[in-house]
């Protein structure tokens, strides 16, 4: 019986919880449930099987291999929504680097007042750009098509997902600096830790969303350089998710390469230093 195997694998309580979620996805159809449980037993992430993941009040679509939004990201994105308070009279522009499912900009578009946010998201994966676009439609956020420049006052919150890599030296030509807010959940797993990742992460989610080079820090260096080159507005805010032990080193990078002195570190719900909030002045 596959249910027993699920219990053996995840423990009783967690297995029961997953069965309940899977059950509601197949409306109690026993045969379909059996099939989903078997997929789960091969290591496929629950979120890909269900096809959705809640993120704050939003229910986002998820599709392999685009990174599944994590609860740590949900937590700091909600906190960021409370830290800043744009209005239609004082709107903000935002750039999300490596937007993936679009979770961060879409949540902010949803939570902030209508007409107070212009959000631009880039990703090097066409799958991610497509998913972010689908998510915007699914949660009812206005889309601006790639390579269209925004002009005039905002009547709604707008999201522009676009295919681009921020490791590409010519990326600035495509962007619209300066941005009031830059957010990113860059790939931060070092090579050595990547090799030891559980199968449900490594074998299903995009390596390009996880692996941050040998030391896990190459994307932070790239971001610091972009900030130094004027991507972030004078009094802008930079919000970066970091790996469980990277906060000190990322702060160091931002100080050295982007001269950012005002830096806060937010803890995630499990007590890990998870988010760097940095300002240029």
């Amino acid at each position: 019986m596959s249910i027993a195997a699920l219990v053996a694998r995840f423990g009783r309580q967690h297995a029961l919880q997953e069965i309940k979620w899977l059950k509601s996805a197949v409306q109690d159809n026993q045969h379909a449930l059996e099939h989903l449980i078997n997929r789960r037993l091969t290591g496929e992430p629950l979120q890909y099987i269900l096809g959705t993941q809640p993120f704050g009040p939003l229910n986002l679509l998820v599709r392999p291999p685009v990174l599944i939004p994590r609860p740590e990201t949900e937590h700091w994105a909600i906190q960021l929504a409370q830290l800043l308070s744009p209005t239609p009279a004082k709107p903000l522009s935002l750039l999300d680097l490596g937007t993936g499912s679009g979770c961060i900009p879409l949540l902010l578009c949803h939570l902030w007042p209508s007409g107070s946010l212009y959000a631009h998201g880039i990703d090097c994966s066409p799958d991610a750009v497509q998913l972010a676009t689908d998510n915007a439609e699914s949660v009812g956020i206005r889309l601006l098509s790639a390579s269209t420049r925004r002009d005039g006052a905002l009547t709604h919150n707008v999201f522009k997902p676009e295919l681009a890599s921020y490791l590409d030296p010519t990326v600035l030509n495509l962007l619209e600096p300066p941005y009031d807010v830059i957010t990113a959940n860059p790939p931060y797993i070092p090579r050595r830790e990547y090799d030891d990742l559980p199968s449900e992460v490594k074998d299903y989610e995009d390596q390009r969303a996880l692996l941050g080079g040998e030391d896990g820090l190459i994307f932070y260096h790239a971001i610091a350089k972009l900030v130094a080159d004027g991507l972030l507005a004078e009094h802008g805010t930079l919000a970066l998710e970091v790996g469980h032990d990277q906060a000190p080193r990322v702060q160091e990078i931002l100080r050295a390469a982007a001269h950012m002195e005002s830096i806060d570190v937010w803890l995630d719900p499990w007590g890990k230093q998870r988010t760097i909030i940095a300002r240029r002045s």
Binding site: R70, N185, I189, E200, V201, D268, K272
Partner: protein, 420 residues
């Protein structure tokens, strides 16, 4: 379908409880007796006297309200525009219905006096008309004293607008208790549907072999809390479980707690029931490195409200944010429940109120399947036709008498404060 029998409590000799009895009898749809016995002037006087004596405190309370109205009127300034005037106007508006009922009482009383004089009229046609008139006037008088005045005197419920959060936990009886819990849950969700409320299952622990170990259901809609609050307590089921081969009747229990639901949006910071400083929020289990390293769903949260020691765990939603929101909702409901209980205690309402005052660990109701009956032990109410109730539609026939009983005790406490 449904029949109804009232137990011991109605045989009491106190006038007030007799009023309860009169009311309860109306559930059996019995019409006032209309046998055409000729009434003479003395027995008519006696009947009126009885109504007045039985309702003496109620009449006194109504008279106090009308006296208050006269005083308010006399205090009004000529311009009708001061702040005090506005307060007075508000109070006058509130007691308008009582005044109207009292006016009706006085005019009925006057008409009765005139009619009594004609009861023994020489003209048989006149006499017959007077008899008829008398019966109709007496029934108006009785209705005012026993129903209309009490209704108007009981203050509007301060919790009337609140939605409800119901927590069900299986008690003694093992899997049979869990099976019955599923059936009760279904009953409440169907009842909510009948009442045009929205029912949503917030969390539940289902068992492998069928049945539900515990469940939380949110019932949103105006009046939901006021109607469902009487469901708090231990519900007992007596029947032969489906799994029982020897045909023996088992007794199992399910504990229900009904909490008032306060919407997050409707509370502002100062009026909120707790301060965030008093909350300890824990996430369940270690997550290792967390972040990108892990994609296992770890959404369970636990809140502790330090001053009261209340803890709430929530794991049914896939997002931590949603579990957190749910947990805060349950915490708010529990704190609101404590607040209401404290208010009731301080108002002394609880003294005679068997329903609200009951300990939640007390058995309140028995569902006896072999005898097809439901008994509510608090008011000695017995109904037959379990299915009708379990299908949701019949629950109202239990809630109504409980609500009525509650109004009676509120009225009793209010009348105790009326100077005689």
């Amino acid at each position: 379908m449904l029949s109804l029998r009232i137990g011991r409590s109605c045989t009491s000799s106190s006038p007030l409880l007799r009023l309860v009895a009169i009311q309860h009898r109306s559930y059996t749809a019995a019409k006032p007796q209309t046998n055409a016995r000729i009434v003479n002037s003395a027995s008519a006087q006696k009947q009126i006297q009885d109504i007045e004596n039985n309702a003496s405190k109620i009449l006194r309370a109504v008279q106090l309200r009308t006296a208050e109205r006269r005083k308010l009127r006399s205090e009004m300034t000529e311009t009708f525009s001061t702040a005090e005037d506005i307060q007075r106007m508000k109070r006058l508006k509130e007691t308008e219905d009582i005044q109207a009922a009292w006016t009706e009482w006085e005019s009925t009383r006057e008409l009765l006096n005139e009619t009594i004089a004609l009861l023994a009229d020489e003209d048989p046609a006149m006499c017959a008309m007077a008899q008829e008139e008398y019966i109709s006037l007496l029934s108006t008088l009785s209705h005012l004293a026993s129903t209309k005045f009490p209704e108007l005197l009981v203050p509007n419920s301060s919790t009337g607008h609140l939605s409800a959060l119901m927590e069900l936990k299986s008690g003694v009886g093992g899997s049979e208790s869990s099976l019955f819990l599923s059936e009760l849950l279904r009953m409440y969700m169907r009842y909510a549907n009948v009442m045009n409320w929205k029912a949503a299952l917030v969390g539940s622990n289902e068992l492998d072999g069928g049945g539900t170990k515990d469940a939380i259901v949110e019932i949103t809609g105006s009046g939901a809390y006021d109607a469902l609050r009487w469901e708090s307590g231990v519900h007992r089921v007596q029947r032969v479980p489906a799994t029982e081969t020897s045909g023996r009747v088992h007794t199992s229990t399910v504990a229900v707690v009904v909490l008032p639901l306060v919407e997050e949006k409707s509370v502002n910071a100062e009026e909120d029931l707790f301060s965030m400083d008093d909350i300890k929020l824990e996430v369940m289990r270690a997550r290792g490195a967390g972040g990108q390293h892990v994609n296992k769903t770890e959404s369970a949260v636990r809140l502790t409200h330090i001053p009261s020691g209340i803890t709430v765990s929530m794991q049914d939603e896939r997002s931590q944010h949603q579990n957190r929101r749910r947990a805060f909702q349950v915490l708010r409901a529990r704190l609101m429940d404590l607040k209401i209980a404290a208010e009731i205690k301080s108002r002394r309402d609880v003294r005679r109120n068997l329903v609200q005052g009951a300990d939640r660990s007390e058995k309140i109701r028995t569902y006896n399947f072999p005898q097809d009956r439901i008994t509510d032990h608090r008011i000695g109410l017995t109904l037959t036709g379990i299915n009708y109730v379990m299908e949701g539609d019949g629950l109202q026939s239990i809630i109504d008498p409980l609500q009525f009983h509650h109004n009676e005790s509120v009225l009793a406490d209010m009348l105790d404060e009326v100077p005689s």
